[in-house]
């Protein structure tokens, strides 16, 4: 089924939208989640949460590229789960526990101001990425958005692994300069 038809099903509140999404994108989303969580069970949980998030967000959202939209949801959910799991593992350390307790003094990271900051930062990063050649852009997004292993990034960028490594290093340095100029650092 075409993406537009699946999105239309979501908008009609037709539950088959989730089945169609699962049929078409389950493996794809599972890979995105596994790159972050490195655990099949957690990844499955994350992908299931993605379906729920998609159901809850469409409408009002009407994504142009469904795969990218779903990948974004999976990425966010998986990173949240990763942080939660990491915090759980650190429970034995008093220092980590104190950090966790002190977080209560701070905002939860979801304040409007922080969201706006993140959005502005994302725009600054996107502006920098648009100045790069296509291969560099793919390498950066593949490595740091989809969190693909370096070997895979090199493969789909058509370059060697060592070239990919040095390319990413140069991009990171360039991004640092750009963010400094923009006043983020």
């Amino acid at each position: 089924m075409e993406d537009a038809q699946i999105v239309a099903l979501y908008w009609q509140r037709d539950e088959s939208a989730i089945r169609e999404t699962e049929h078409k994108y389950d493996q794809y989303l599972l890979k995105v989640a596994r790159n972050i969580l490195a655990d099949l069970e957690d990844s499955r949980e994350s992908v299931n949460d993605t379906y729920l998030a998609a159901w809850n967000s469409m409408p009002p959202q009407k994504p142009n590229v469904l795969s990218a939209y779903l990948a974004k949801l999976t990425r966010r959910i998986s990173i949240d789960l990763f942080r939660y799991r990491t915090r759980q593992k650190r429970q034995g350390s008093e220092y980590a526990l104190s950090l966790s307790e002190l977080e209560d003094c701070l905002s939860g990271g979801n304040s409007t101001e922080e969201q706006v900051d993140a959005k502005l930062l994302a725009e600054a990063i996107a502006a920098y990425l648009r100045t790069l050649p296509e291969t560099s852009r793919r390498a950066f997004v593949g490595r740091y958005y989809f969190l693909d292993p370096l070997k895979e990034v090199a493969a789909y960028c058509g370059i060697s692994e060592s070239n990919a490594k040095s390319l990413l290093y140069r991009i990171r340095l360039g991004l640092k300069d750009h963010l400094t100029q923009e006043g983020y650092l």
Binding site: Q27, L121, A122, I125, R137, Y144, P149, K151, A155
Partner: protein, 268 residues
């Protein structure tokens, strides 16, 4: 600012940037295929080169004879055991020496094993010459190692094989059909279009079947090509379906390899 902040911001990247990379990620991986196949490609090139050399110097002769001719010119290291070396050199095309686990055991062309007394006089003379060649091949161990139904490469000077690939040389349509019958239980042959390989094709060419170690493939890595299927391999060690696949290599020197290699899809 922490790396986590950056990651949170990256989640909000515009869709078009993400989609652009996503498209590239989901394309078949030609580079990986080449990487995994490079050793077998070299083997095919050696065989093709041998055939061309043989065709140039003699009016008749099969691919194995061409390989022998190439090998004959290489004199880098002398094998310690002359007898086993001769067996190893000749064994590539000898059905009876193939291991019991080898599905290649029954697929040799009949003319490769016909007793000398059944052949016409001229052919019998050629066969005697070939026997001589096999004996001389025992001095070879520099680049290509032949051991029963396998080929592999040895670094010059070491004498130790690095990678070994099981092979079968198909010299007749009948041998190809026999081979396909053996493989059909394990591989999906329904998409193969082998009509081009008729008896007349085999008069000028041979088909080499190479078994390559494959770490796995993505669902879209088996793609229809002009003549059957092209198998695009990847080297993703985390993939959960490792195995070994058979690849058909057209030994026609005019064919550009490995783009025209035909891979077989392993049945679940």
């Amino acid at each position: 600012m922490t790396a986590e902040t950056l990651h949170d911001a990256l989640t909000l990247l515009p869709e078009d940037l993400v989609a652009e990379t996503d498209q590239a990620r989901q394309r078949p991986r030609v580079i990986q295929w080449k990487r995994w196949a490079v050793m077998a490609a070299c083997a095919a090139l050696v065989l093709c080169g041998g055939r061309v050399a043989w065709d140039f110097f003699t009016p008749k002769g099969g691919t194995e004879a061409a390989v022998e001719a190439v090998l004959q010119g290489t004199d880098s290291i002398r094998m310690e055991d002359q007898e086993s070396a001769a067996n190893a050199a000749a064994g590539t095309y000898k059905t009876e020496e193939a291991g019991p686990e080898s599905p290649m055991a029954q697929n040799r062309a009949p003319d490769a094993f016909a007793p000398a007394e059944d052949l016409p006089e001229e052919e019998a003379q050629m066969d005697a010459a070939a026997q001589e060649t096999e004996a001389e091949v025992s001095t070879f161990l520099g680049k290509l190692w032949k051991d029963e139904a396998t080929i592999c490469f040895c670094p010059e000077g070491t004498g130790e094989p690095l990678e070994k690939y099981q092979t079968a040389l198909l010299r007749t349509r009948e041998a190809l059909d026999q081979q396909l019958a053996e493989l059909e239980g394990a591989y999906n042959l329904s998409g193969l279009n082998l009509e081009v390989y008729d008896e007349s094709w085999f008069e000028e060419n041979d088909l080499l079947l190479v078994r390559l170690p494959v770490s796995g493939w993505y669902p879209d890595s088996i793609i229809p090509s002009g003549n059957g299927w092209t198998l695009r391999l990847n080297a993703d060690s985390s993939w959960e379906a490792p195995g070994e696949q058979w690849i058909f290599l057209d030994l026609n020197p005019d064919v550009i390899w490995p783009e025209d290699a035909i891979g077989l899809e392993l049945l679940p």
